[in-house]
């Protein structure tokens, strides 16, 4: 659920510190709702009467991504919090081009097929990435 305290625990479990900048970036991501750039995130934090350096935002996002707490949307480079961090393995994205919503999914069947494709081509698959681009329920008028 990405509560402030669960993130604190997750960080400490990895030997990382629970710092104010890290808390602020996570707050920003949660409140902004749609995928955001490092600069967007900094802007949001500034609007809350706080300050954070651009470089710090980049670095915090890097850490969060490595922990699986946030994702970087491949084609846009924008970040958003993972909504299903409890499910390990491949997370796919449904991306609405109208409202920029990103919904995550986890589909084992898809993984099976992708592994089969890799095998057939002689690839040793380490990771994969799926994005479905379209229009979400709420935006189809």
């Amino acid at each position: 659920m990405n509560t402030t305290s669960s993130i604190a625990h997750l960080l400490k479990a990895q030997g990382l510190r629970d710092t104010q900048p890290r808390r602020m970036v996570m707050q920003a991501l949660i409140h902004i709702q749609s995928p955001a750039s490092p600069y967007d995130i900094q802007k949001w934090i500034t609007a809350q009467e706080n300050t954070i350096n651009t470089v710090t935002v980049y670095r915090v996002l890097e850490v969060f991504e490595s922990l699986g707490l946030v994702h970087r949307h491949p084609s846009s480079g924008l970040y958003f919090p993972c909504s299903i961090p409890e499910i390990k393995g491949h997370h796919g994205f449904l991306h609405c081009t109208k409202c920029h919503l990103v919904e995550e999914f986890h589909n084992p069947e898809l993984c099976v097929i992708e592994n089969a494709i890799a095998k057939k081509a002689g690839f040793k698959a380490k990771n994969h990435l799926s994005e479905i681009v379209g229009v979400c329920k709420g935006c189809v008028l």
Copy 2:
């Protein structure tokens, strides 16, 4: 097969001109072999005793991508020629992290599943994107 003349025809069929910069960019993409940035492409062309403006490279790539002649690798932003332009529809990528080779695939079964996922989530899918990241046949020692 992306021969020089087939591209000329494809361009003309769209009311576009067959120009020297466009031919040079395609030559560069074909010869560089692995995904390349606009600046990489410009550098290659310069090394062939030719010149091309950076902006032109960007614009040419945009046209080529819209024609389905090249792809932009989503996570890196690098460009490479489409190897199966004759197959319409979704092209997926196998990406080797060692030699940076990109192999394309077309898998209807994958499309079916992705459409099902979209439907289940109430999305109207317009397009999708699949990338399998790993190590290619030649790079697995």
